[in-house]
Symmetry: C2
Subunit: 503 residues, 2 copies
Amino acid sequence: MRAKVRLLDLYSGRYAVFLNPKDAEEVKLHPDDLVRLESGKKTVFGSVVISTLVEKGEVGLSRDVFKLHSFSEGETVLVSPTGTPESVRYIKKKMQGKKLRKVEIESIVKDIVDRKLRDIEISSFVTSLEINGLDMDEIAALTIAMAETGDMLDIDRKPIMDVHSIGGVPGNKTNVLVVPIVAAAGLTIPKTSSRAITSAAGTADVVEVLTNVTLELDEIKRIVEKIGGCLVWGGALNLAPADDITIKAERALSVDPRGLMLASIMSKKYAMGSQYVLIDIPTGKGVKVESVDEARSLARDFIELGKRLGQYIEVAITYGGQPIGHTVGPALEAREAMEALITGRGPGSLIEKAVGLAGILLEMGGVASQGMGRRMAKEILESGKAYEKMREIIEEQGGNPDVKPDDIAIGDKTYTFTAPSGGYVTFIDNRAITGIARAAGAPEDKGAGIELYVKVGEKVKEGDPLFTVHAETEARLDHAIVFARRSEPIRIEGMVLQRIGNI
Amino acid sequence: MRAKVRLLDLYSGRYAVFLNPKDAEEVKLHPDDLVRLESGKKTVFGSVVISTLVEKGEVGLSRDVFKLHSFSEGETVLVSPTGTPESVRYIKKKMQGKKLRKVEIESIVKDIVDRKLRDIEISSFVTSLEINGLDMDEIAALTIAMAETGDMLDIDRKPIMDVHSIGGVPGNKTNVLVVPIVAAAGLTIPKTSSRAITSAAGTADVVEVLTNVTLELDEIKRIVEKIGGCLVWGGALNLAPADDITIKAERALSVDPRGLMLASIMSKKYAMGSQYVLIDIPTGKGVKVESVDEARSLARDFIELGKRLGQYIEVAITYGGQPIGHTVGPALEAREAMEALITGRGPGSLIEKAVGLAGILLEMGGVASQGMGRRMAKEILESGKAYEKMREIIEEQGGNPDVKPDDIAIGDKTYTFTAPSGGYVTFIDNRAITGIARAAGAPEDKGAGIELYVKVGEKVKEGDPLFTVHAETEARLDHAIVFARRSEPIRIEGMVLQRIGNI
């Protein structure tokens, strides 16, 4: 049938296509049937909703679909039922434990991006990958297919460096230091980051406190070609869009099949044209990768995958057993990072990690000789050159380069937890720290988070402050206090365990 | 937040909960988040849609949710975000190939019925079952959980018999004869049937030509206690509702995990209180179970499952290599079944199968001695007692008991295919026959279908009629003719295979 497009003001997280009951009956369409909309060169797939909110002869599109595919109100489209997509056969093949061919993987990825596959099929694919896995041929094909179904960046400066931290360790603002150090050394590093999904602050959330992170791809190209680096939000770009779709199923099921994880990370690097990639795998209790053995196995996979993609990859296994630095939460972390850039000094866990990672990149990129990268990175940081580069990044991305740490607004509703007894700090629980910061409102409330006064191994006296919770509202602060009392964020040797809930 | 319920006239195939953007922002809800609605004793789960179609302070519910849970317009409900359901952990456990405990299976089934699990989670469960399977303990637990989360029937007449045919063979109106024969012998058989899903006519579609099949459970109880049998549509009842939900994922993925198939069938029998169940497994090319070995293995599973459920199960492996009788499609099959009941005679494939199955049930139920069931069933059919019982069933269910075969309207747009050459009929393709009947409009168009003039082994001369397609509209007839020309519904020995498309 032909129908006129009508904009419906709704967001449902899926591609909904509203049809009038009379039209639906005529073309024998039922709720949630898959349909194809065609108009000129555009072809979009969606799920039928039957409703009198649209008149006969109209097709209602939700605001997101409408915008994404630039339909215009009143435009005539052809609506037709469509059968089971071909790629469902390949998902079934993976269910049967068989190896998928390159064209089969391409077909699945294309149908995901085209929205021909919906929650049911995507969840089945994710589940099949979790159970039956993918071999390195399949992962390489998946990575390339995911990159090529989205936008690709071609920066006219070589070599292109990149760095990526596997998530999970709270307070990890390290790359806010690494990128300006590496760019200040003359290398090219177009860094895209994610926002927090389950953490209290992603790198994009932290940088957003300082400058704009939502940029178009051609704007990024211009900036990086001019100053050598950027710190932007990858989610604003159409990089490997299949990943943004499959992540929904992975989150709902709390699974993260390794093949999909590797493809998800590397497809974005591939799309950005990265040639030398450093992968940081924080390892320790309460982060994604808990054991060094697991980290090593993952490292081998990254390196092997890099070879297939024509990328040179190195992996740094770092300590992730407690938060990095003393702050957790977007504004608090932005403040700590800026202080480190301005003064060249800061908490050992932050400075050492940043110059360690940056040093490896300087060696990979050939600007430091073997074994000299770390020292060179430290010099760049201490000399203020990294800060200068950070000012350029902030300015080019649309922020105020003169921003000072004290200018950054921190949540002013606070509560400080103190040590119930004296002793050594034996353990800081990453998950509890993240949970408290999120309960306080992070990452949405930029000023929410935690300031930590102690780290593992330090000695405290009874009554010493352990950490302060910052929130933007009293309600959120109360919420975080309740959460903190129920969990055990900091363990002090000799403390009566049963009383920990009362600190 | 508290909000006033507002009815939205839409059907989306899911539980959609519309919130105004302002409310959504306040309670930090995003599109497709899972929310709980509470009002008095009712608790309903649904997926967030953000839209200005509802005002601030309102919650919009789609018509199906509204009706199913009897909300009233303007009623105040409590809307709250809800985290990942507990049962997702058990789905993950099955992904890991572990055996599920009874309580874990109960939790999954309850969350499916409560709509706490949505497409993503249900698809993952189905996929995990397809890959990792279920053992008999798990299948029994699943069956009981599926039955007990729906309505259960308690008929005050024992023993309760039941019969179920595994689908796939076209023209299988057998149970329209079996039920009145068994009930006429004094046994109790509260038969529920499904509508066609992928076939041209389910038993419920066929019986609906003769009488009403959409009855309430207490009405069924009254009828069966009075006359011993019924022929109703199971889909109108709230029997094992989890099955109606999981089937969506199974269909989209075209999988049918055995454990789920067994539980799906037997949960409905269990809910109907059936004690003696005969399972008919048609076997042959183009039906669900193609080999006798597979049928035997399935039969053993049914019998074993019956033991765990306290049911006595027998299995009949029947011939399903070609259509049963001479008709395919609701009205054509209803006519053929009524003719057989009235005259006691009909096509061998129909009569033999019906008295064979009925005979086994008569022996199982103890009214015929061993080896005498078939003869007794035949006598009941030929004596007109089965027809008398059928008249009672038609009348009690609200139809006209005097309906005659010629009263039944058949699609009057017809086209007859003839033999392109003489020879023996060597093969009739079940899938092609079903496809043509569906292309002609079956099962929605009751009068659409196929009349077959030949069966496998019969000799035809060039130009002899092979089959007639019936449709209610010219468009549908054309559609079916095109479909028939493209497929190879009937193969005649000696025919030039390349020309089959032109018959």
